[in-house]
Symmetry: C2
Subunit: 362 residues, 2 copies
């Protein structure tokens, strides 16, 4: 039975329409059977890196490491880049997860916390001297709050000697990243790239590896097979440290190639159009409320709506019309919905989702 559901969930989400055909082609060519130490794999790896760099405007002096999830990216970044202390801007569950990762790895890390759904007054926050890595969750998937790239750039201007890592798990590839002002960015593919889950991507400035080498010389624990020194060595050979999710890497290349053929500017324009459609619509509803109060802090890709006690009813009405949205996160799981706005969500389907909501009062 073929599914007629449309997933407007925050990830895993709707697959990009070309994914099915790309998987069938990969099966036909037996891509999942090839050795990750052979020429055929190296060609796939190289194409994926090339297309992704083109799509996201990633400079030549950045490398791309593949792992299994966005959460693994957090772990490996802290292990390989932080000796004693990272500093975290926390305004939701995923920024909290990044901070917690550092604490679990026994770092003496600090956080500036604001309420779920709020932005930060960057100008007023003093980052401690001892901070080695500043961690910013650029797009907070749990609350729908986003940090404008300009503010991240200003952080770098203010603290030029500190490294900056940004979580763009649910904003890539929409979010234009100024790679001159950050050192590490990471995402997973089951969000804006519309792929099956099981692949994390870390984009990292080559010079960051000097820090990992320093940590290794100090006999710090930098993890095992996925440490950044080995990952960098294999990256130069168009390979991974261990057998990876080959199919995932192959599909990421195909999607990036497809998005390049559309053009990233068009994707960004359409994402902003759809975000406007959604926010404008919810602004008119009396029985639902945009959660992130300050329009300046609102994510373009994750739209979070307070539904109060009608949440279940609203989700059901959407599901009855084949639109699947995410529940709120954590303590908001029964009162909020989260609607994703990724490149595979068409203007037409977004309009339909709005129309379905508009049919009913709750």
């Amino acid at each position: 039975m073929s599914s007629s559901k449309k997933y407007f969930t925050c990830g895993p989400t709707e697959l990009y329409p070309i994914v099915s055909d790309a998987i069938i082609k990969a099966l036909d060519e037996k891509i999942p059977s090839i050795s990750h130490r052979g020429k055929e794999f190296e060609k796939i790896f190289s194409l994926t890196v090339h297309e992704l760099k083109k799509l996201m405007g990633i400079p030549d002096d950045f490398m791309i490491f593949f792992s299994s999830s966005g959460t693994e990216c957090m772990e490996r970044i802290i292990e390989n880049i932080v000796e004693n202390s990272s500093f975290h801007f926390v305004n939701g569950s995923f920024s909290e997860r990044f901070f917690k990762t550092a604490i679990e790895l026994k770092k003496n890390s600090k956080a500036h916390k604001v309420d779920f759904g709020k932005g930060f007054n960057f100008g007023e926050i003093v980052i401690p001297e001892e901070t080695e890595l500043i961690c910013v969750t650029q797009n907070e998937t749990s609350s729908g709050a986003a940090v404008p790239m300009k503010q991240i750039s200003e952080l770098k201007d203010k603290y030029p000697k500190k490294l900056i890592a940004i979580d763009v798990v649910t904003s890539a590839p929409y979010q234009k990243i100024d790679f001159g002002k950050i050192d590490i960015a990471f995402f997973s593919v089951q969000k804006g790239f519309g792929l099956p889950p099981g692949l994390g991507v870390t984009i990292i400035r080559e010079s960051c590896i000097e820090k990992t080498i320093y940590l290794k010389e100090l006999n710090n624990n930098i993890g095992t097979y996925n440490n950044f020194i080995d990952a960098a060595l294999y990256y130069k050979k168009n390979q991974t440290t261990v057998t990876p999710n080959t199919l995932g890497i192959y599909l990421l290349g195909k999607i990036a190639q497809h998005l390049n053929s559309i053009g990233i500017e068009k994707i960004r324009f359409e994402t902003e159009e759809k975000a406007k459609m959604l926010y404008d619509y919810f602004f008119t509803r009396k029985d639902m409320k945009i959660f992130v109060e300050n329009p300046f802090d609102r994510s373009k890709t994750i739209v979070v709506i307070d539904c109060g006690e009608k949440q279940k009813q609203i989700k059901k009405h959407l599901a009855d019309n084949n639109f699947i949205v995410s529940s709120g996160y954590g303590k908001f799981s029964e009162t909020q919905i989260r609607i994703a706005n990724f490149p595979m969500h068409s203007i037409e389907d977004t309009q339909k989702l709005i129309s379905v909501l508009d049919e009913a009062d709750f």
Copy 2:
């Protein structure tokens, strides 16, 4: 262009024939888009665990944790089970990798090493008192040497208070495991299960988690999101700690179900028949030599052959006939071939591979 290659490689390897259809069905049902926190996922997780437990005879008091690779399994096992010292039987590159993992995680671990391709005199080896975990690479993928289950059982009888972890990466599900005599086993799915790479599976006795809790209380580093305490909590809910390779978990369930429909006894019988065909054949060749000298130490699933300087020519002859085999590992990469003998490799194709070799002298 459809590939007519047959992968007799050690993994990634030939996909099990039903995999393509199972993937197409999963795409049709939008399995890669579902939430890993929902009922639909829990049903998939539960079915996979049920079928795998049935197939491998895993007792109820063992849990199954999913990760991204066999190498990740090694890392998580050492992090979560070993305070100071593990003991490793090393006779090849993967047993060395397990040992190295412990050293990289700053454990004071020890190893008993024998030459590549040799077995162990278990009776003569004294395991140090301080050992917390004994690590045995039951099937050494790099050299084609295997440890009979009986010897592992005897280890447990001799050291009943020490935990035992076995690497069955390339012997599962063929290898019958006596779960009464071990505490942890792990594998990855791109070997004997004939699936695309990107999923590691750890089978662990529930009581092992007491050790992880103890380590946590000592403030040891037990890793972050994939620590065994959290993994156990989510396992009880038929969930994973983070967004997993959902498609991989789904496919593993489908394959295990399929193998159960054939019957594990038949699979074991056929594996042994095919291994006999291969070893008997290579015994007759004067220009190629079975690498593992003692028949008692020979793996049933990884057949390693010394080809000397003719290796390239032999590999090419096989490839020209659409049979892809692995090169030797490490320093044997240019002189050996490794032929896998997994459940998806039919008796007929194995016979054909032998016939193709038999056509030529080298």
